[in-house]
């Protein structure tokens, strides 16, 4: 089976997941993103013409203001024409199939699709059906993958910790339902992080999760001991209905990140969260706004990382 993300030259054709991406491509994306951080921060003119004349379609079958906005900013800074489509509220409710929607968008001569969909595998599905010159970026599919989030997390980790090979990283929370966690795990293990931990109650961990290359902890005090990086996950409210958890209060007590629990980590540990945060559910405000938190840096770097991915894809021929 060919890797559906790579073209026949082994270059990035689509970004669908961090799983199975060669480490040199991951590093290329991070290096490229570093060159855009200056564009975002330092200079007065924030536009560069790498995607001039290209059309980027943000196709969101599931609502997301934040992720869509960062993709939009990234594409605009690369001088692309950006079209935002919230399909969730139009075509599919009129009975149009996903394939018809994709065909129609292709007919509008898009160069790049940024896709979010509630179903795992939707981005792979769309990538399989688009014209060969069209690139697909997965902006989140079901529980499966959210590669740009994971890449911006890797960028943030590298920014603060410089290296990956000497780190201990803990991912805390609802791994079972999290596309972010899956993408983080693959990216971390590919980049050579020797110890990746997941910390969660058993109801929020998928079967055989250890086969992804992680160590499983159910106790925060043990799991956070001596870690360099804490990656918090968002807890959806509906988990309380599905009998996965008794209450948000109990969850916060045992798995919410507080200063007290964070004290188990290394003194220079960083705390990250993909947002939007549920303060007082998975993370205490004092930690979210505290000295260890690099959550706002993640947002800033997110734009640079998305610019990097888009510019790399635009330079790839089918």
């Amino acid at each position: 089976m060919n890797n559906p993300q790579l073209n026949k030259h082994g270059e990035l054709q689509h970004l669908l997941t961090t799983e199975g991406l060669p480490v040199h491509i991951l590093r290329d994306i991070l290096d490229k993103a570093a060159t855009f951080v200056d564009v975002n921060d330092g200079r007065e003119i924030k536009k560069i013409p790498l995607l001039h004349g290209k059309s980027v379609f943000n196709v969101f079958f599931e609502n997301s203001t934040r992720t869509r906005t960062t993709f939009e900013i990234a594409a605009k800074r690369l001088s692309a024409d950006v079209v935002n489509l919230n399909i969730g509220s139009s075509s599919t409710s009129k009975g149009e199939t996903l394939l018809d929607t994709v065909d129609n968008l292709c007919a509008m001569h898009a160069d790049m699709f940024v896709v979010r969909h509630a179903q795992s595998g939707a981005a792979h599905f769309i990538a399989r059906h688009v014209a060969p010159e069209v690139h697909v970026i997965n902006a989140g599919d079901g529980r499966h993958a959210h590669p740009t989030q994971a890449l911006l997390d890797m960028f943030t980790i590298r920014h603060y910790k410089k290296e990956f090979h000497n780190l201990r990283v803990a991912i805390v929370g609802d791994v079972l339902h999290s596309r972010v966690a899956r993408s983080q795990i693959h990216a971390l293990t590919t980049l050579g992080v020797p110890e990746v931990r997941v910390i969660a109650p058993k109801t929020l961990l998928p079967a055989m999760v250890e086969n992804l290359g992680v160590q499983v902890y159910h106790d925060m005090a043990q799991g956070l001991k001596d870690v360099d990086v804490v990656l918090m996950l968002r807890l959806q409210n509906e988990r309380m209905q599905g009998a996965a958890l008794p209450s948000a209060q109990e969850y916060f007590k045992y798995y919410g990140l507080t200063e007290e629990k964070l004290a188990r980590a290394k003194p220079d540990a960083i705390v990250m969260h993909p947002g939007p945060m549920n303060r007082g559910v998975e993370i205490d405000s004092s930690v979210a706004d505290g000295a260890h938190s690099v959550i706002l840096s993640q947002v800033t770097f997110g734009i640079a990382v998305r610019m990097a991915v888009m510019s790399m894809l635009a330079g790839t021929k089918a």
Binding site: H117, G121, R182
Partner: protein, 424 residues
């Protein structure tokens, strides 16, 4: 019409024959094996040199999609597919729309099938009205109309009291109950085996205990009620072991597996191949090995196609949204042969799982080529390789995980009641 099938290698599991023997057919029945009966004059001679002559295949689960789902497949298309696959008898599950829960519907289906003059169709009636799991159907009436067993197809029956009553009632008349073991709560929203692949792909999972818990309930109630229980589409190692133990304890239980599950595992889902979205889910490679071991030691009696033709529009969707199921009638024989080759089984033992054994489960005197038996025969070329090309399949359903795979064994002639209904 008299037919002489000459020079073929006859494989008849029941009569323990695996040798080059001529077959003589008169008046729809096997007139003689080996030597022509006196005065036999063939109207037609089929030269089966280099071919195998076997009992017509019997499939325990073939959805013909009528009534109700004619946009997915019709009786005409699927009956064509059946004979092209060498299948001469098939049982169809009651999950039509409306479900097969009234004698009139069953009679209509039988009548429609008869007029097509192809494979014999054996409807499996709904165990409960509308497959709702609440009220019993008129089982005795349904049997009079032509039903051979009763089933919930893939619809849940969560009320154990209803299940027990249904089994008691069926046992009263000696009817068989066919059930697929799956706890509907544990399987809720699930689309893949609760293992490595579902975890990696982020697919909602169905744990093995969904099968074993339901199986435990079924086996307990079968013991309690004395009903003839047939377990459909077993999928897990733990499930196979439970059936094995039940059989050792003398319970009258039989069991089948789909041809897909004999060959595939969760790994075949790959990058979300919707054709691998099946019911039950493809499980781990260890489970698949246990299914094969279960076939070998007789725990699993039969292999069925679990034929489920699905419309492209509802199959070409992201994995979880894609309608589950695979088209299978034309692949049953090649997949049985492939299994025999891989597990180094005699063809006779392998073919018994798709001829003699399913006939026993159906309570039919079929699946063999004894003198006097109905001449339901499949003649195939065991050496012909062919690539599975969905467009070339006769079934209206083009959905198969074996798409593009090369298989061995091509049906050349299919006879039902001594009439040639297919040749290629």
């Amino acid at each position: 019409m008299s037919i002489h099938i000459k020079n073929g290698r006859l494989i008849d599991p029941k009569n323990n024959i695996d040798a080059v023997r001529d077959v003589y057919i008169t008046a729809g029945k096997i007139a003689a094996i080996g030597k022509a009966p006196s005065g036999f004059v063939a109207d037609r001679v089929i030269d089966a040199s280099g071919l195998m002559v076997v009992p017509g295949l019997i499939d325990l689960a073939a959805r013909l999609r009528e009534p109700g789902y004619e946009y997915m497949a019709t009786l005409e298309s699927e009956m064509d597919a059946a004979v092209a696959g060498g299948i001469t008898s098939l049982a169809c599950p009651p999950d039509t729309d409306p479900p097969l829960d009234e004698p009139g519907l069953v009679e209509m289906l039988k009548h429609r099938a008869r007029t097509l003059n192809q494979s014999r169709v054996y409807p499996v009636g709904a165990l409960t009205s509308g497959l709702q799991g609440q009220e019993l159907t008129e089982m005795a009436e349904l049997v009079d109309a032509g039903c051979v067993a009763f089933s919930q197809a893939d619809a849940p029956l969560t009320d154990t009291r209803v299940l027990m009553r249904a089994m008691q009632y069926a046992a009263t008349f000696g009817f068989s109950v066919w059930l697929r073991p799956q706890d509907s709560f544990l399987a809720k929203n699930g689309v893949a085996h609760d293992g490595e692949v579902a975890t990696r792909c982020g697919l909602a999972a169905i744990p093995v205990c969904a099968e074993t818990i339901a199986l435990s309930t079924m086996l307990t109630l079968a013991r309690e009620t004395g009903v003839k229980l047939h377990i459909c589409r077993i999928s897990s190692a733990a499930g196979v072991e439970m059936v094995r133990v039940a059989k050792q304890q003398g319970l009258a239980v039989s069991c089948d597996v789909s041809a897909q599950h004999v060959h595939l595992s969760e790994m075949d889902i790959g990058f979300f191949d919707p054709n691998c979205h099946l019911i039950p889910p493809l499980r781990s490679q260890r489970d698949r090995a246990a299914l094969r071991a279960g076939l070998l030691d007789g725990t699993i009696d039969a292999i069925c196609s679990d034929h489920t033709p699905v419309d492209e529009d509802v199959k070409q969707l992201p994995f979880a949204e894609a309608e589950a199921g695979a088209t299978g009638l034309e692949l049953l024989l090649p997949l049985v042969l492939k299994w025999a080759k891989e597990d180094k089984l005699s063809l006779s033992d392998a073919l018994a799982k798709a001829t003699l054994q399913p006939a026993r489960i159906l309570g039919l005197d079929a699946g063999h080529l004894s003198v006097g038996a109905a001449a339901d025969v499949c003649v195939f070329n065991p050496d012909a390789y062919w690539k599975v090309e969905p467009a070339a399949l006769k079934s209206q359903g083009k959905n198969t995980p074996f798409n593009g795979i090369e298989v061995q064994g091509k049906v050349r002639f299919t006879l039902i009641d001594g009439k040639l209904v297919y040749q290629a």
